[in-house]
Symmetry: C2
Subunit: 265 residues, 2 copies
DNA sequence: CTTAGTAGTTCCGCCCTGTGGAATCTATCG
DNA sequence: CGATAGATTCCACAGGGCGGAACTACTAAG
């Protein structure tokens, strides 16, 4: 429904991925259920599932189809496409440990934030916002940290594409207000999220830069009653700044010497 | 090359995934490089990349295309499609810690073994065989543990499909020898890999069963000089058996009450 | 044992749409 | 500025993706 068949994209490919998305949402599902949901002929659905199954991107158990484990490989490939992403992982673990809260590494792709690493500290918050999850950039600390260090024109494109939907009571929904906020983030070097994404949830983030561009952001999130005062405003941010600083050094150094281990299929 | 366009699969979908695979192998690549490699017209390649980019499964940075981070989500969906998979994770972590070696949770899909969790102990072996990696079942301890507890006919299908290629000097390449080995594994409850997959690398694994069927296997792998004697033959296996036992209980109990958290797109 | 019903699979002809070649546009470099 | 390489757009053709209908495989009910 939200899917746009914009210009003239290849229909067949779109349909295949629609089926994959249906499987992702439905879990194990029968052929007829998928065909129904997508308004496709059963014969068509069958051919797609057959093809995807041959490719091992769909598994079937009896008459239930489900997403294939081969996607684990592609997911991993995405998660490691930039060596910097892997370097962030230990820092996230350390931040989760030090703060006891949830620590995350978020990257921008197609104008959205994607969680690439998530580590839950001792006083873990509920699971759910796991790896691979997508969020709007304007309503999260990590997103604002990234936007603040992206060229203005790129920010405009993103806002044009995704808008500024309200997710919680404090979400910034006004463009100019967001620009002001980003200016503050740039000055301060740290972004804050005060119940802008989910009511009752605060967060703070710092950008990780390479060659002036933000490659991602380190973030810490937790319940607003626990993330307050100096701890929230100063102590956690300084831990993150230290981590980001160290990470940036690694990233810049390794940027050429990296031997991205060859993936053989 | 190894890709077969078997029966009459949908060509367009195949092509789209071939492009994705090319990106997975090449990393950031130009349009022309992809078109060349796959023998496609540039216009065709362009349309596919356009479509995949609209879907956010491909990203572009200037004139370099690369795999999109949205795959992280699908990868995650695959990794959690069965709640049992997530339950295995803490056990893998514990095994890695206890043994100091590399611990893995492997599952079968389409006749191949897929690493779903990998944790490296203190005296870590080289990275590389990470999450999402695929291996033949006949040449790994985990694979043999799984095969040993699968119906004979299913084993036959798998061997028909994938054969028994030699990966290392000790790889079992004879069908009957493998059946004998599986019998031994069944009796013993533990599978061993003595440099059958990679020279210099040993491993041992135990199945994780649910309703009699193997849903996966817990495995420990390390250099053959370190994995020897009682430690290899008895001590590590008993740790694994204990873990598997506990895991199986969780898995069987939770099998119905599970509320697979709903994924909203 | 038969019959009806449900779900999956195969078949088939239509015509939509995916395809490659050529033309156009864009950027980089000599 | 030309010249080249690469990306993008345009276009006509026919290959192949599509849905409807026929067929098969199971189950359940009578």
């Amino acid at each position: 429904m939200a899917d746009r068949n914009d210009t003239d994209a290849i229909q067949t490919t779109n349909t295949s991925f629609e089926i994959i998305h249906a499987l992702q949402e439905l879990g194990p599902a029968r052929l007829s259920a998928i065909a129904d949901r997508l308004g496709l002929a059963e014969s068509t659905t069958h051919r797609h599932l057959q093809t995807l199954s041959d490719l091992r991107y769909v598994s079937r158990d009896g008459d239930r189809y489900q997403i294939g484990l081969r996607f684990a490989r592609l997911g991993r490939a995405a998660q490691t496409r930039d060596p910097a992403y892997e370097m962030a992982k230990p820092h996230i673990q350390e931040l989760a440990e030090e703060t006891g809260e949830r620590a995350q590494f978020v990257v921008e792709d197609h104008g959205l934030g994607i969680y690439l690493h998530v580590e839950t500290g001792s006083r873990a918050v509920r699971v759910g916002f796991g790896v691979g999850r997508q969020i709007h950039l304007h309503s999260s600390s990590a997103g604002k940290a990234i936007l603040a260090h992206s060229p203005r024109e790129h920010v405009d494109d993103i806002l044009d594409q995704w808008g500024l939907p309200a997710h919680a009571t404090n979400t910034i929904t006004d463009r100019d207000a967001l620009y002001d906020e980003l200016e503050t983030v740039r000055e301060r070097g740290v972004a804050f999220n005060r119940e802008e994404h989910v009511d009752g949830l605060n967060g703070t983030a710092v950008p990780v830069k390479r060659d002036g561009r933000a490659v991602g952001a380190l973030a810490v999130a937790g319940p607003s009653h626990r993330l307050t005062g100096e701890w929230f405003e100063d102590e956690v941010p300084s831990m993150m700044l230290a981590a980001a600083n160290e990470l940036e050094l690694n990233v810049t150094y390794a940027s050429d010497a990296s031997a991205t281990d060859h993936i053989v299929e």
